[in-house]
């Protein structure tokens, strides 16, 4: 109990030593803070600081309460929950999406038709946000040097029969389910984002139990870059093509097809696959960068 309290206090003060042991961090920055000493503040600064730290929570709570009051007054002017007569539900766009979505996009899942056909530029931006985030995390976390192996790394790489056998059984099922979700994106609930996260989770689980070396035979930094870039490029080109043809009523070779079949709904299936690749790679990349500062 005492230990838990100590831990809680450390956590609250932010001095809790999480995941990164300072010895293993081992880069040029770790020495900087040793030169810092908590300098005594001057009296004036101290008084200002104390006044600020006393007034700040009160102001924050008051601000939040005022915000709640304003937002609740806005909620009271909204149409009742579940009512069919709301402005968005009666708008022309929604009518078009539901009534013509099937014949225009060929997707049974209307949401997939909306996000990957009518509003596909939106989803293109979304994929690029993921790519930009992965790049930013890479810039912030990646180190060219291999980190010295900490006891935690050795603990991960230790041969753990329960974990490894469970992974051996589960990971193929997880990956298969992720593929199913991606390939069924236009036929039912699912799509590139959800299936991609499932596949990313499977990859993370595999790496957690078997260590990075096995997975790196397939997915190292070079293949990672190529896969993600080719996916985003394919998305951009395919979408430019379909917008050009769709907007000008030209004949397109990717027609809506027969609704209900796997190979239907025009470009939605390939786009779902591309988005799934980007999402799974990005999730796995986040894990790898946070865990061992390399992809």
């Amino acid at each position: 109990m005492k230990k838990f309290k100590e831990w809680l206090r450390d956590w609250d003060e932010g001095t809790f030593d999480f995941t990164i042991d300072t010895a293993a961090a081992g880069n040029e920055e770790s020495t900087v803070s040793e030169s810092f000493e908590k300098t005594a503040l001057t009296d004036l600064e101290n008084r200002e600081f104390r006044l600020f730290s006393r007034a700040f929570p009160i102001t924050a709570v008051i601000l939040a309460s005022v915000m709640i009051v304003f937002l609740l007054s806005a909620v009271m002017r909204l149409p009742a929950f579940g009512s069919p007569h709301t402005p968005p539900a009666e708008s022309v766009t929604i009518q078009r999406y539901i009534e013509n979505g099937l014949s225009e996009t060929g997707a049974i899942n209307i949401v997939a038709g909306v996000i990957l056909d009518y509003r596909a530029f939106d989803t293109l931006g979304e994929s690029h946000v993921l790519f930009a985030a992965a790049a930013a995390v890479f810039i912030l976390m990646a180190s060219a040097r291999r980190r010295p192996e900490s006891p935690r790394d050795q603990a991960i790489l230790r041969d753990d029969p329960i974990l490894r056998n469970t992974t051996k059984v589960l990971v193929p099922i997880i990956l298969l389910f992720g593929l199913y979700v991606i390939f069924n994106g236009h036929l039912g609930p699912g799509g590139g984002f959800s299936g991609g996260s499932i596949i990313g989770g499977g990859l993370i689980m595999y790496e957690m139990s078997y260590g990075p070396t096995r997975l790196q035979r397939v997915l190292n930094l070079k293949t990672y870059k190529i896969t993600v870039l080719v996916s985003l490029l394919f998305y951009s080109i395919a979408k430019c093509y379909s917008f050009f043809c769709g907007a000008n009523s030209l004949h397109t070779i990717f027609g809506p097809g027969t609704p209900g079949r796997i190979f239907s709904a025009g470009l939605i299936l390939p786009l779902n696959m591309v988005v799934g690749i980007v999402v799974s790679c990005t999730l796995y990349g986040f894990y790898a960068l946070f865990m061992r500062e390399q992809i």
Binding site: V32, I68, M76, F81, A89, F290
Partner: protein, 127 residues
């Protein structure tokens, strides 16, 4: 008034959740807790959007048996918007956590007050 609020209770819950996240973001000095607060605010926004899209006694927007009448399905647009929001919030969270780790490596603390003090000392030392 209370009846309206009760009818819109999901939106009210979203508003309260938003305020909880906002207060968490402002009051805690720990950077990780600030990230958690921002994520709670994101969740509140998703709850609000999905509750706006819901229409009683209608099906989810997956066409069944070729029925494409407007009156059969709920609003599909908020689902797409929430999907976008989730992806953006995951990306923003990852970048924030990476920045937090860099800050921790430099100052060996996550407490914002201490970080301010170190930065203050650092800038004085430069002058």
């Amino acid at each position: 008034m209370w009846m309206t609020l009760w009818n819109n209770r999901i939106q009210v819950a979203a508003v309260i959740l938003f305020a909880v996240g906002f207060v968490t973001l402002l009051l805690h000095r720990n950077l990780i807790k600030k990230v958690i607060g921002l994520n709670i605010m994101d969740t509140a926004a998703y709850l609000f959007l999905t509750s706006i899209g819901y229409i009683e006694n209608r099906l989810s927007p997956i066409i069944q048996e070729g029925d494409t009448a407007l009156e059969t399905y709920v609003n599909p647009l908020p689902a797409g918007l929430v999907l976008t929001g989730i992806v953006v919030s995951v990306s923003v969270t990852a970048v924030m956590l990476a920045l937090t780790i860099r800050i921790y490596r430099r100052y060996h603390t996550l407490n914002l007050d201490d970080i301010y003090r170190y930065v203050h000392d650092e800038m004085e030392g430069e002058q």
